[in-house]
Amino acid sequence: MRARLINKHEAAILAPLRDFTNADRLLWAILVGLIAVGGYAYYQQWTFGLGVTGLNRPVYWGVYITNFVFFIGLAHSGTFISAILRLAGASWRKPLVRAAEAITIFSLPFGVSSILIDMGRPERAFNIIFYGRFQSPLLWDFTAVSLYMFSSVVFFYLSLLPDIALCRDRLTEAPAWQRQMYRLLALGWEGNPEQYHRLEGVLDGMAIFMTLLVVTVHTVVSWVFGMTLQPGWHTALIGPFFLLGAIFSGTAAVVIALAVLRRVYHLEDILPINLFNSLRKLLIVFTLGWLYMMVAEYLTIYYGGVTEEMLVFWQKFTDDFAGMFWLMVLLVFVIPLFIFVFLGKDRIGWMVTACVLVNVGMWLERYVVIVPTETRPRLIYELVLGDYSPTWVEGAITAALFSGMILLYAAFTRYFPIVPVWETAEEAEEKPGETVTAPRRRWGTVGKTAPK
């Protein structure tokens, strides 16, 4: 008798793929509409130049670069859950991995797009390849983020592969193009033990590599700021600060995604509440870690009292950006920590609220790192000018980027199982006479009678 894998939740996990409601149509219509508005905004920018934004001298980087850092940060969610927790042997992560990794692969393209959108001459983007200078942190960025995006897609695809084969075999009622898509993407996956063994081995190896990439990527993104001489940016702590912030906002995004999926697709049995409790503990650690970074950074600056650094310090604490700074502290730290510690246990609603606040706050945090420093450059005469009011163009493009990410995610969940069927399956003995699958299919209980 051979052991095989059964997933008793298979039908529930595949149910969303067999459906497409009016709510979906409405959601997609809204998202496409927002993308269209953003497209029009970008067309204005393409035609008239970056002058249609609120950017100016000295605030040369604003909302677009904030978006860039934010989306790359969000991408760390998936890798953290699937790669780092995999290495830690946290088996409770298994139902979450694909939902988390999907955030990664669907947010990275919008991070990269944000850079292209910010460029004055985007049609010259290939100059980075033809004339690239590796002394520039932008080249390190380009290398790291490209490698990360490529590797994430491969990692995601490999984790998805057995389930694509499952869809190929199970979803016989799907339209022809969809079945053909599964057949092509399944690459002839048979699901024999050796293939699984090799797949697990490669995923383990890639998990190590992806963990190294996570650390590299967000540190390198922070060094775009850290390697300049500007007060507020030029600090050794910027690497760890950005890295922790990325893992923090990413994990919070995973909670939001899971809660939505659980509700919309009725996956209550597959995504039980203890998953959220485990994530809650991680989030408490990250919130406190974030506080540590903030205290370390600002206490050091304040105690030293260096003139140009204090100008930026006061910009954040009391002057032009005080409102945004303290709002950020409230949204990232004060309220979420309270909720996580006192209200979050066993309560998904509160967890989602806190995590939404965390992500809004983290977007503000990126903004507050980038813009105030630019408004207080060293040659102090520029005090007269340092001001930044984003325009509708920047707002519309930002909305379009978020809509794009959500649209890709939502579409994905209707064509592929968002919970890994093969990773959450359990081993069971094959009994003679029991209805089992035909030789190529090894899932569930639907099919022909077993040979004796």
Binding site: G49, L50, R57, P58, W61, I128, Q135, P377, I380, Y381
Partner: protein
């Protein structure tokens, strides 16, 4: 290359005692280099392009400048510092900005991708970005400087540039090219005093000097040794080549 050619290290000295902040340098610069003009609403947003900028420099950030007639203020006229260790060159991903062998930090409009990393990296704020397509109206449009420094994937100096790229003071490098070419055609050595940027040529108070810092007998070398000499933001490590002589 030329008759007895050798590299020089171009530097500028500005005597703040003689500067009257008339802004003649800024005006001469913008006409020499075809600097795009911006409308008042854009200027309010801080998007005016001034390769050479004249601005008040308070003695310290929080100090009062005083009441008339006992006003205490000073002005700084600031071109690009053409640093020996330029932070802008370090961060450019495509070598659109680079330091040449004579110490001039050049800017190639043809290769610039408009990422603005150099603009945020410069601690002096000497770099400017073209937020819109450059345009000139009326008599400005008919009086553009025809001098060009372009060719071979290169577009610099007074050349008409597109929107979305960065520009800055070039020490009027097109004048250097012209002066060298003239010396070559006359089959004689090029003399450093044949090359003079527009701001230095125009200065009302004769406060600006320009020359070869490698020549121990040049005006700039001698003035650089003055006890009044200082460089802006010396502690930041950029080694700027614009030397100021402080008042007093």
């Amino acid at each position: 290359m030329g008759f007895g050619f050798f590299y020089m290290r171009w530097s500028m000295v500005i005597d703040l005692d003689k500067c009257v902040a008339c802004q003649g340098c800024s005006v001469a610069c913008r006409f020499e280099n075809n600097t795009p003009v911006v409308k008042p609403d854009e200027a309010i947003k801080g998007r005016a392009i001034r390769w050479n900028d004249v601005f008040p420099l308070p003695i310290n950030p929080k100090e009062e400048t005083g009441e008339y007639p006992n006003v205490k203020t000073r002005y700084l006229t600031r071109p690009c510092m053409h640093c020996e260790n330029p932070p802008c060159v370090k961060v450019c991903p495509v070598q659109a900005t680079f330091k040449n062998e004579e110490g001039i930090v050049q800017q190639n409009y043809a290769r610039c991708i408009g990422c603005r990393f150099c603009t945020v990296a410069c601690p002096y704020g000497v770099r400017y970005f073209n937020w819109h397509e450059p345009e000139w109206e009326g008599s400005l449009a008919t009086h553009l400087n025809p001098d060009r420094l372009e060719g071979d994937g290169d577009l610099e100096g007074p050349a008409i540039r597109p929107k979305g790229i960065v520009e800055k003071c070039t020490f009027c490098i097109h004048r250097l090219q012209k002066a060298r070419a003239r010396a070559d055609s006359e089959k004689r050595a090029f003399r450093p005093d044949e090359y003079i940027p527009a701001c230095v040529q125009t200065c009302t108070g004769k406060a600006r000097f320009f020359g070869d810092l490698d020549d121990p007998n040049s005006t700039v070398s001698l003035l650089a040794k003055s006890p009044r000499a200082f460089r802006v933001l010396e502690d930041v490590g950029t080694h700027p080549k614009v030397i100021y002589l402080k008042e007093g």
